[in-house]
């Protein structure tokens, strides 16, 4: 009976939360060709976001074409049957809009944010991209080099820039998550025209995509326009997602990476459940407990009290298949990596052993509540959240339920998640050390 006193406390703290969150309105439907469409109406600002998410990411790549999905994303700005090379972005910018795209392990996402009278332009552009994109040799050659420069700029020329690449390749042996979305230069060099054609045909089809229109729209009119531009796009063969099953890590995988750095860093990778599962949210809360805010465990203990770290971080890769939580800390000047690692482990062990008090748990919920509201303060963000909920979490309604999922957790869930997933016996541990410490 006694422990019951804790449960109402958490619920009590949580109760007003749900009441305050404003639900995102939306309607959704499927076109006959399988394209899923979501409309969100918000007239606060006279702008509209048009976005398409394709269910293809680096996990759909062949082993010798690593980086292809992201490279392909670059190519799909080159033009179409009706849009010349370089014109795509011109149409958007001339209309006063912005455009971009990004690729992850699971999906590729394209979007435009336009003045609301240009909704039809956005739909025309995205339907051209889906129906008959076109790339010439100059475009391919250019974008291949551009992607290589992207890799150099964001990974190779950055201190600690290879962390994700090095962790992934040790955390997975079977699953294509083992390679980074940016890929490898030799694979990009090997790609040929046949690859582009096959990839486009296989993945860039309406039945592998979700279209979101969000903002200052009349949903009835938007629906007509969506139908006008997208219903004529032929359906493709159903996409088979990779089913690679990654066996659990049986032991600790440990390595040293020598980098052009001055301060050592400790990086730990833990295998976690897929995004959208109840335990994924529990792991997310453990991450927050560890390093979200100055009063979080790692920041207070390692940075403030012990002064062993200049920076700490804990985050999850929100993958569709079981992903990773990555914990890392950069050592203060003169602090040894081993010493830093012991301090990190001590904080993990403390959660595993002692759990989380009601007050600290309530703090996490309060932070989540504020962020959940902020997260949906812009139509471009809303569009992305809607697409993700539908495509990767399998249910658009989850866009309004994320906070509920957190509220359903108890301090005991966090302790259990810490014990289950943050096991110091089964993980990847990397020490990033300065080049000059490399044994001669």
């Amino acid at each position: 009976m006694r422990h019951l006193t804790f449960i109402p406390l958490a619920t009590m703290l949580a109760a007003p939360v749900a009441a305050q969150t404003r639900a995102i309105n939306y309607t959704e439907f499927d076109l006959e060709n399988g394209l899923h469409v979501i409309l969100h109406e918000d007239h606060s600002t006279p702008i509209v976001a048009v976005s398409v998410m394709y269910h293809v990411g680096s996990k759909n790549e062949e082993k010798d074409r690593r980086g292809f999905a992201h490279f392909f994303e670059h190519l799909l700005f080159e033009g179409s049957e009706n849009i010349g090379r370089g014109e795509f972005s011109k149409y958007v910018e001339r209309a006063g809009g912005v455009l971009n795209a990004n690729t992850t392990g699971d999906r590729t996402y394209y979007y435009e944010v336009l003045p609301s009278n240009q909704l039809e332009l956005g739909l025309w552009l995205e339907s051209e991209r889906m129906l008959h994109a076109k790339v010439d040799q100059k475009g391919v050659d250019t974008q291949r080099e551009v992607v290589k420069e992207e890799r150099r700029q964001r990974y190779e020329n950055q201190p600690y820039g290879t962390i994700l690449i090095e962790v992934l390749k040790r955390a997975y042996t079977e699953h294509p998550y083992q390679w980074p979305t940016i890929g490898f230069m030799e694979d990009l060099n090997a790609a040929s025209e046949a690859d582009y054609k096959a990839f486009y045909k296989k993945f860039y089809i309406p039945n592998n995509a979700v279209l979101v229109v969000a903002g200052d729209i009349d949903p009835a009119q938007a629906k007509v326009l969506v139908f006008k531009y997208f219903s004529g796009i032929p359906k493709g063969e159903p996409v088979k997602q990779p089913m690679a099953v990654e066996p659990p890590l049986e032991k600790e995988v440990r390595d040293i990476i020598y980098d052009r750095i001055q301060l050592p860093a400790v990086v730990q990778g833990y295998r976690i459940p897929a995004n959208g599962t109840p335990d994924f949210y529990a792991v997310e809360m453990v991450n927050r407990l560890l390093s979200n805010g100055n009063a979080s465990r790692l920041n207070r203990s390692l940075k403030d009290e012990q002064q062993k770290a200049v920076y700490t971080g804990a985050f999850s890769l929100p993958f569709e298949h079981p992903g990773l939580a990555i914990l890392y800390a950069i050592a203060n000047a003169g602090v040894d990596a081993k010493d830093l690692e012991r301090a990190m482990d001590a904080e993990l062990h403390r959660i595993q052993k002692e759990g989380v008090g009601a007050e600290e748990f309530a703090k996490l919920l309060a932070q989540l509540e504020t962020e959940a509201i902020q997260d949906n303060s812009r139509v471009a963000g809303v569009a992305g959240n809607l697409a993700t909920a539908h495509m990767l979490l399998g249910n658009t309604a989850l866009v309004n339920k994320e906070l509920e999922r957190y509220l359903a957790l108890t301090p005991a869930d966090l302790q259990r998640a810490a014990q289950t997933y943050f096991s110091t016996d089964r993980r990847v541990v990397l020490h990033y050390l300065p080049m000059n410490q490399k044994p001669q």
Partner: protein, 729 residues
């Protein structure tokens, strides 16, 4: 082409079985014209939200922007502080911001963090104020924390010490972060090292900072009469008034004691002399190159930059922004992006920024490119600046830029804080009251002539600093012709922005010959080194993904032969027979002569130091220097053929750790740096087992000594034969 147009494309429309009554009434024209973009409807009206404002009795101006869309609210405190040069204490201004929320009269750092985070709120402090945000219901509680950190910070000793340690770590980290160097030292390149915007914090300047400086700055500049308090979000005027009065109504801090010196400078108690910025600096001097060496860089981080006198209230400021948008500001269709990325494929992105600033404006074009196009990228950027000045822009470019900027203006209003920012900017920069209300109208009126005039006024390619963070060995020589400064074409800076200078400590207690002798002793002694002959060494390396083996034979009397192979294929060989030498490769063979022959002879000996006099014309001991954190003696030698060799010998072990050769090889001057590591015994003599070479024709090469054999029997003389025809007398 990725996929050809599908002839069945339009047939899909036949299936009109979509659910929903909406569609049944919609006009369903099966033939849509895809060949041209749809015609937009009438442009929506952009509603600029309004703000209210009032002043507290202590002079603090309160700005309120109501927006009730979401149950969120924020409060910002901002002080109007002129830039101050920090001199040898650079860093204390940043510390003011960092320490503001680490202790107050009544709260510890842990208390502050806890009280904000348990409400799910945010608190950010800076050297000109503080900001808090959270749910509306939590705003009163967050305000009490904000009030405390702004009006009663205690700058605790312990937190100060911790921050200094953290800053020190940050400075160390900067050494390896090209973007951080470009940010810190790039500002020094723009404004100069003594300008408040160009000062660079260093370990040395950190040592000069005391809490009294931080406290003095706070007392002098965190003043209610120079303060703004900005409420945004789900809050009413009445609520804001109440909160403002409760938190800051009674705040009337005393000015710290001040005097004025004979130059008119303020001397503030604790802080000392305050150096305000006088006139803004502008673009002057010849176009010049500044370089920060970062060995092993995968890319060069580039800035083309100069300072400007451009204030936000300048009536040319808007045309200048239009011009910059077309040049490189934000749009994908900007010239720099189209040229350097979409046409040349040298970079992931190229941008420019033109900052209008009340105190000192600036221009900076920035790009990261692979090493071998560093000079070309700089040339193209300069060309684009010149083209903009000389030719102006096209109607199409002007139209795109104006539409884009109008769109950005509308999008920015999605965030309620934008209206508050506009209000604050209007006060701080002395803008016309309707500055933002008339923005779209004024933007629309900008002409091609306005843009060209702005380019002529604000782009100064002839006076620009071409700033590069990159691998000196890879880029130095190519940068020289870009500079118009003939005295110091490429000015080298260290990662703190200080002129790069080899720090040599003079050595008086030994001669260069003694250093060489100590080296011979260290590797095993003269006797052992002289005895070591008939040696075969096998090195391996990879070049462009291929495994390469280099086999070398060292015979008695300086005989030398090497073979470079990829698998079984012989790529190159080199032979020295004691007087003549030959090189054979896939391009044919040639006899090695003059300086190259001298080099082949010298490097074709295992320990040429045994008989240095034979090769070297001059030898001096330069002094002591740090090489990769190790103390070394630097010995500079000039050969009979006037080539230069610098050797660095480790002070503790006596071993050579680096050699830098400046020589003429394969038709061009080269500077080759070789590092020697992992010394192990071969026949009683220590030889390096890892050799890293950079700057040669093949870039960076790491050789590993895989096999070292002292041959039982000397190779026959024919083995070292050059195969060259005899010299005709």
């Amino acid at each position: 082409m990725i996929r050809s147009a599908n002839p069945f494309t339009r047939m899909g429309l036949a299936g009109l079985c979509l659910a929903g009554s909406l569609l049944s009434s919609a006009p369903m024209n099966a033939q849509i014209d895809r060949s041209r973009p749809p015609v937009p409807g009438p442009a929506p009206t952009v509603q600029l939200g309004s703000h209210s404002s009032f002043t507290l009795p202590n002079g603090m101006r309160v700005i309120v922007v109501e927006n009730h869309k979401l149950p969120l609210a924020s409060v910002q405190v901002r002080f109007d502080i002129p830039p101050v040069a920090q001199g040898d204490k650079t860093g204390y201004v940043d510390l003011v911001g960092d320490l503001l929320a680490t202790g107050t009269a009544t709260r510890s750092k842990a208390d502050i963090d806890e009280s904000v985070e348990k409400l799910g709120g945010f608190l950010v402090t800076s050297s000109d104020g503080a900001y808090t945000a959270g749910l509306k219901k939590n705003l009163p509680a967050l305000m009490t924390v904000l009030k405390d950190v702004v009006t009663a910070p205690s700058f605790p000793e312990r937190e100060f010490t911790k921050a200094i340690t953290r800053y020190r770590s940050g400075i160390q980290q900067r050494k390896d972060d090209p973007d951080a160097i470009a940010e810190a030292v790039g500002r020094a390149a723009t404004f100069g090292r003594n300008h408040p915007y160009g000062e660079v914090m260093t370990e040395k300047s950190l040592n000069n900072i005391a809490i009294k400086h931080i406290n003095g700055y706070y007392q002098r500049f965190f003043r209610p009469e120079k303060g703004y308090l900005v409420f945004v979000g789900d809050i009413t005027m009445k609520e804001a008034k109440k909160l403002a009065k409760e938190a800051f109504g009674a705040w009337k801090p005393a000015m710290p004691p001040m005097t004025i010196d004979e130059n008119g400078n303020e001397i503030v108690e604790g802080l000392g002399t305050v150096h305000y910025l006088g006139q803004p600096v502008t673009a002057t001097g010849l176009r010049r190159v500044q370089l920060v060496d970062r060995p092993g860089s995968a890319q060069s981080v580039i800035r083309v930059t100069f300072p400007l006198n451009l204030q936000p209230k300048d009536n040319r400021a808007l045309a200048a922004q239009v011009m910059n948008t077309i040049l490189g500001g934000g749009v994908f269709n900007a010239r720099l992006m189209q040229n350097l990325r979409e046409d040349k494929a040298w970079t992931y992105g190229a941008y420019s920024s033109l900052d209008a600033d009340r105190f000192n404006g600036s221009f900076s074009a920035s790009v990261s490119v692979r090493n071998n196009v560093t000079d070309s990228a700089l040339t193209e950027i300069v060309k684009e600046l010149e083209r903009m000045r000389n030719e102006g822009v096209t109607t199409e470019e002007l139209d795109l830029a104006k539409k884009y900027m109008a769109g950005s203006f509308a999008r920015s209003l999605e965030d309620p804080r934008t209206v508050a920012r506009f209000a604050l900017n209007t006060y701080l920069n002395g803008l016309a009251e309707d500055h933002y209300a008339t923005y779209l109208q004024r933007l629309d009126a900008v002409t091609k002539d306005d843009v060209k005039a702005a380019a002529e006024a604000f782009l100064h390619p002839d006076n620009a600093v071409l700033f590069v963070v990159g691998d000196k060995q890879e880029v130095y020589n190519k940068l020289v012709p870009l500079s118009r400064d003939v005295v110091a074409p490429v000015f080298e800076l260290d990662e703190n922005g200080e002129p790069w200078n080899e720090t040599l400590i003079p050595v008086q207690d030994r001669t260069p010959e003694q250093v060489i002798d100590a080296y011979i002793e260290a590797i095993g002694g003269r006797a052992a080194a002289t005895k070591l002959n008939d040696v075969k060494l096998v090195y391996t390396t990879t070049l462009g993904g291929m495994d390469i083996t280099i086999t070398q034979w060292y015979g008695r009397g300086g005989l030398y032969r090497s073979e470079t192979r990829m698998g079984d294929q012989l790529l190159a060989e080199e032979v020295f027979d004691g007087s003549r030498g030959v090189r054979r490769g896939q391009g044919g063979e040639y006899e090695v002569m003059d300086a190259e022959l001298e080099d082949l002879h010298f490097n074709g000996m295992l320990v040429p130091e045994l008989d240095l006099k034979k090769f070297m014309d001059q030898m001096i001991l330069g002094g002591r220097i740090k090489i990769a954190d190790r103390d070394a003696y630097k010995v500079v030698m000039t050969t009979m053929n006037m080539q230069s060799v610098e050797d660095y010998f480790h002070v503790d072990t006596g071993l050579r750790i680096r050699r830098i050769e400046r020589k003429y090889a394969q038709g061009r001057p080269m500077t080759i740096t070789t590092d020697y590591k992992d010394h192990r015994q071969v026949g009683g003599v220590l030889l390096p087992h890892t050799v890293e070479q950079a700057g040669g024709p093949m870039g960076i090469v790491v050789l590993t000594l895989k096999e070292a054999t002292v041959l039982a029997k000397a190779q026959p003389a024919s083995f070292f034969g050059t195969g060259l025809p005899p010299v005709e007398e």
